[in-house]
């Protein structure tokens, strides 16, 4: 069976995503992305947080063919649970390992 091609995006948040609230942040991020992408595009993009890499950084996994839509959706998200937030996409790659090695702005 063919596996869907994925893209991993490294994201910096303007406010910390602290440990006890991570699950909540995750579900609120998904609903904010659904609001921006629309239900059908959200289903196709299928965004999932793959890894938290720091107190304000994480890696988001999205479908390769919806990568650009996902970046625009993340740019449009300006608040999560009523609090202002900025989500900055730093770099992206086909694997998490390559993402950790790759310099920014790719």
């Amino acid at each position: 069976m063919m596996r869907d091609k994925r893209r991993y995006i490294s994201i910096l948040s303007s406010r910390p995503v602290a440990e006890p609230d991570r699950k909540r942040f995750e579900s609120e991020l998904y609903s904010a992305m659904m609001q921006q992408l629309g239900e059908s595009e959200y289903f196709k993009a299928n965004p999932k947080i793959a890894k938290f890499t720091g107190k304000d950084t994480f890696v988001l996994k999205v479908a390769l063919d919806r990568y650009e839509h996902s970046i625009v959706a993340l740019t449009f998200i300006k608040s999560i649970s009523g609090k202002p937030i900025g989500l900055y996409t730093l770099k992206s790659s086909g694997t998490i390992r390559a993402l950790e090695k790759r310099p920014a702005t790719r």
Partner: protein, 169 residues
């Protein structure tokens, strides 16, 4: 490739710009002079105003760049911009601060302006013009927003790098 951006001083605290991967984010009004049509000090500044005769007159006074605040296509104004080799600066702040149908209409108008200007051979620069830290964008996001307007990736990357450098330095 090095990337540059322009934002309001209120968005620039600490070293976030470095984390985002920019070589520099200039502060509008302090690092780079901004002006309004019909006022003094237009020369060398970024002149911001709605399309029309006042902005056209300002474009003839050698500003560094112009921002058409209502994103309307004014052929006479764009002829002046082209003839004087000025930069047409497209800020994303209005797209990012609006929502729903208003955002959609802003994207449509901005997209028409950007595509028309590029077709005419005008140098177009894409900047965030963020008013707060949350409104800042990384270079990847600036390029993707430019692509959303219908600009080719290569042009968008070159604009955020070379044209923006020329705009702020």
């Amino acid at each position: 490739m090095q990337f540059y951006d322009l934002a309001h001083p209120t968005a620039l605290h600490g070293y976030l710009w470095k984390q985002l991967g920019f070589k520099r984010i200039a502060a509008a009004g302090t690092d780079v002079k901004t002006s309004l049509p019909g006022t003094r000090g237009i020369e060398g500044s970024i002149c911001v105003g709605p399309a029309g005769e006042p902005l056209n007159a300002a474009a003839k006074q050698s500003p560094r760049a112009i921002i058409i605040s209502d994103s309307r296509i004014d052929r006479k104004l764009l002829d002046t911009v082209k003839a004087r080799n000025l930069i047409l600066c497209i800020p994303f702040d209005r797209i990012l601060s609006s929502q729903g149908l208003r955002r959609s209409s802003t994207i449509y108008l901005t997209s028409r302006l950007a595509k028309y200007a590029i077709k005419r051979g005008i140098r177009v620069s894409f900047v965030s013009m963020a008013g707060s830290e949350e409104a800042l964008c990384s270079p990847v996001q600036l390029v993707e927003l430019a692509k959303l307007l219908g600009v080719k990736e290569e042009y968008a990357r070159n604009s955020v790098s070379v044209t923006n450098a020329e705009l702020i330095e």
